[in-house]
């Protein structure tokens, strides 16, 4: 009797591991309009994708970029989790439009548990921003990428270092940024122009560069040309001509 019970339970649990049905219209999670330029094939984050957000030479801006990526989907009702980012500025997340009540934070994870936790989160929520511990194995990275693809959730490794050197569907690298609004003892930080290099697999393999306002004057994200005619002479740092996104 017990044996049959175990078999039956095994079958049930196997059924439980089937991915839930996903409607075609839900295969893409929305992003803020200014970021649609980042995605070539789909108008948003494709479910199952791995999107690496990194920064060249530890340039700041990667955290804001990752938050901006999930903001629209979070506002549309998707659940998100942020793993291993102990110093996350949650006020900035809220200002970028992230719905904090739909974000679970796991600030400190022992390296031994990191893969387990991220794997379980990929089952549970739609978007996982995860900062990996150093010396993460390549095999673990591949397994997590495969799991995200299988479960239709989106994995966003944040500043992964050498992990996910390949295997990411899309790679956003912050090349540099420039703050506006602050002078010598006057004003305050208002906005930042961020240069982001895009790479990845397939159609995204050809490197491109986009310029973004992150945060834009007044908050949120905006395309680089959104403030082309604005009164930027007031800004203390001289602004070079804006580049068109390639």
């Amino acid at each position: 009797m017990v044996g049959e019970e175990a078999v039956a339970r095994g079958r049930l649990s196997a059924l439980g591991h089937l991915p839930p049905p996903v409607l075609a219209g839900e295969r893409v999670l929305p992003v803020v309009p200014a970021l649609t330029a980042v995605f070539t094939r789909t108008p948003g984050l494709r479910r199952g994708a791995t999107v690496v957000v990194d920064a060249e030479h530890a340039a700041p801006g990667a955290v804001s970029l990752a938050l901006a990526l999930v903001a629209e989907a979070s506002a549309a009702g998707s659940w998100a989790a942020i793993v291993g980012v102990a110093d996350l500025g949650l006020l900035a997340a809220a200002e970028l439009g992230v719905r904090l009540e739909r974000v679970a934070l796991i600030p400190d994870v022992a390296p031994a548990h990191w893969v387990t936790v991220v794997g379980a989160l990929l089952d549970a929520v739609d978007l996982v921003i995860a900062h990996p511990p150093p010396h993460l194995r390549g095999g673990d990275c591949r397994r997590l990428t495969a799991r995200a693809r299988e479960r239709g959730s989106i994995l966003i490794p944040l500043r992964p270092g050498r992990a996910w050197a390949d295997g990411a569907d899309l790679r956003l690298t912050v090349a540099g940024g420039r703050w506006d609004g602050v002078g010598t003892g006057e004003g305050h930080l208002t906005s930042r122009q961020l240069t982001v290099t895009l790479g990845g697999r397939g159609a995204a393999a050809r490197p491109r560069t986009v310029e973004l306002w992150l945060p834009a004057p007044g908050g949120g994200v905006a395309a680089a040309d959104a403030f082309a005619g604005a009164d930027i002479d007031r800004l203390p740092v001289s602004t070079p001509p804006l580049q068109t996104a390639g």
């Binding site: 998707s78 200002e95 679970a104 929520v125 602050v182 010598t184």
Partner: protein, 588 residues
């Protein structure tokens, strides 16, 4: 004496007294002379028998001598209680919490029902009518009735019920004063006091309390207070919490999760079944286990809405995996495979032996308010999936490891955020300005202003260069503070838990200070973080000064915050406090 001398308002009690209840229960009409006997003595009798001289405590032979036609009944407390249940049910229709003193007498706390039914008099009349109709429906119930009394405290209320009275609040002592001492039901005390010449409750109550305690001890003291109309015992108006704990003892220690989880499944059904019978739901469940080596483990699980049997079984299973799997297995998820093969590099701490006992204790139990499934925007399958998955991670890492952020009021970027464990109520630490949690649209950041503004007004306090001294007055609940001195938006995206020490110097290499007028001593020129290389400051703003909690020596903080941009484009929020600079946040 520390207890209050005036009875609390919640002490007011209504007592329903059905006289000669054993005779009513026996189905004897009041006109028939009858008595119930226990151990050859009269316990109760009808009014007709009383008229013939039968009293309580009389021997049967003597009672029959005074009243030859006396009907003799055996005293049967079980029958009395059974019959009284219908009366209790009638009273319980008014308020659910009824205290039965003995068959024939029951009491309720009047505080809520009295207000609802329009006062003590109306409540007493309604209950008397209800009970009378119940008694009249009993066999030979015609002619019997009940009496209702209301007074401060159960003792006075019983005496009031005997006289069918309502005693004005606060007048219990006056009401009791002329009554005989034997009503206290303390025969030894009454006897002794009677020999001392004290025969009424009022005379007893007039004795000094200290002398009564000194002579009669605690029993005398309680009786003394009751005689004075002060009844320390108050009726509990709340529904008692039923004991819903369930447990399972394993005949042989269970060292496999499957075996323990199988028992957990039936426990889950039991606990949820008994909760459902009581019309309650459980939002917080404690799972306890004992191992064969005497280890005791306990972990509390919380559900954001209410536990279902499946949810309980799932939580128990996860918890058991956390406890049991650690013995032999690794901490890697089985689906991902363990990189270390047989010797896992990521072992998880666990128990040293099999489980011998599993116990489920519902902790936070409340009424089942039902649940309306969401039509649009309600709870969805994705919400359920997220809740399950996050609860599972809480089982792996601990309840506090998974948190969610709540925004509140404050000045610095860290002050405005409070982290609460997942599943617990989201309450901000401090009230914030209206709309502070709604994002950039509502965030009215002051426009960049020039420092030529030399005469700050109170309205301009959020701008840099103005000193803020917080007020010690706490805001009223309806008024939401605006937190002057709050940093303007955008907020930094990286806020280290522990601010990193830094150095900020001017062009000559002298550390920058802030004057009492909130001006920097010299313009900051270079920044070094944690002894790192010096970076040139190309732009800066501030200071935003705040003199916080100056009324509290332990928590008093004076801080001046600067935004600085260094030559590689990075922007920092640096803070000067007690002459030391720290990097409070990075605009990442």
């Amino acid at each position: 004496m520390s207890a209050p001398d005036r009875p609390a308002a919640g002490n007011r009690t209504l007592v329903v007294w059905c006289p000669d209840w054993p005779m009513v229960a026996a189905g004897i009409a009041p006109t028939v002379p009858a008595a119930a006997f226990h151990a050859n003595r009269v316990v109760a009798c009808t009014a007709a028998a009383r008229a013939e001289g039968v009293v309580r405590g009389l021997r049967r032979r003597e009672a029959q001598g005074r009243c030859p036609e006396l009907v003799v009944e055996r005293h049967d407390p079980v029958r009395d209680a059974r019959a009284f249940e219908s009366v209790v049910a009638a009273v319980a229709a008014f308020t659910p919490r009824v205290e039965v003193t003995r068959p024939g007498i029951c009491a309720i706390a009047t505080r809520g029902p009295s207000r609802y039914f329009g006062g003590d008099r109306a409540l007493a009349d309604a209950i008397r009518a209800a009970v009378d109709s119940v008694v009249a429906g009993l066999p030979a119930g015609a002619g019997w009735g009940c009496r209702v009394g209301i007074a401060d405290g159960p003792f006075a209320a019983v005496q009031a019920a005997r006289r069918d009275l309502i005693v004005v609040p606060g007048k219990a002592a006056d009401f009791l004063a002329p009554l005989p001492l034997r009503l206290l039901d303390e025969p030894e005390l009454t006897d002794l006091l009677g020999r001392l010449g004290i025969r009424t409750l009022g005379a007893f109550a007039a004795l000094p309390a200290a002398d009564v305690v000194g002579r009669f001890g605690a029993v005398g003291s309680v009786a003394h207070r009751r005689a004075g109309g002060i009844d320390d015992r108050s009726l509990d108006a709340t529904e008692p919490r039923p004991d819903l704990t369930v447990e399972h003892e394993f005949e042989s220690p269970a060292d496999r999760v499957d075996a323990a989880a199988f028992a957990a499944k039936s426990l889950a059904d039991d606990v949820c079944g008994s909760l459902a019978e009581a019309g309650m739901v459980c939002r917080c469940l404690r799972i306890e286990a004992e191992t064969e080596h005497g280890e005791r483990m306990s972990r509390v699980w919380r559900h954001h809405r209410a536990f279902t049997p499946a949810a309980v079984a799932q939580r128990v299973r996860w918890q058991l995996e956390g406890w049991l799997a650690g013995q032999q297995r690794c901490g890697c998820a089985p689906e991902l495979g363990c990189p270390g093969g047989d010797v896992c590099p990521h072992p998880v701490g666990g128990t040293s032996g099999g489980l011998t006992l599993l116990r489920l204790v519902p902790e936070d139990v409340g009424p089942d308010e039902g649940r309306q499934a969401g039509f649009w925007g309600g709870s969805t399958e994705a919400d359920e999936r997220a809740a399950r998955g996050l609860a599972r991670i809480q089982g792996l890492l601990g309840h506090e490891a998974v948190v969610t952020a709540v925004l509140g009021g404050g000045r610095g970027p860290a002050d405005q955020v409070r982290l609460v464990p997942w599943g617990e109520p989201r309450q901000p630490a401090r009230p914030g300005p209206p709309g502070s949690t709604t994002g950039p649209a509502a965030a009215a950041a002051p426009a960049p202003t020039s420092r030529t503004l030399r005469h700050p007004t109170r309205a301009d306090v959020a701008k840099p260069g103005t000193r803020v001294r917080t007020s010690g007055r706490s805001p009223s609940p309806t008024e939401r503070p605006v937190w002057p001195g709050r940093l303007p938006h955008p907020s930094p995206a990286a806020v280290p838990v522990h601010p990193r020490p830094a150095e900020v110097v001017d062009a000559t290499g002298t550390p920058v200070q802030v004057t009492g007028r909130s001006d920097p001593s010299r313009p900051p020129a270079r920044l070094s973080i944690e002894g790192g290389p010096w970076a040139d400051i190309v732009a800066w703003a501030g200071p935003w000064t705040a003199d916080e909690r100056w009324w509290d020596p332990a928590d008093h903080r004076r801080r001046a915050r600067f935004q600085v941009v260094v030559d590689d484009g990075a922007a920092y929020l640096v803070t000067l406090e007690r002459g030391r600079w720290r990097v409070e946040a990075v605009y990442d």
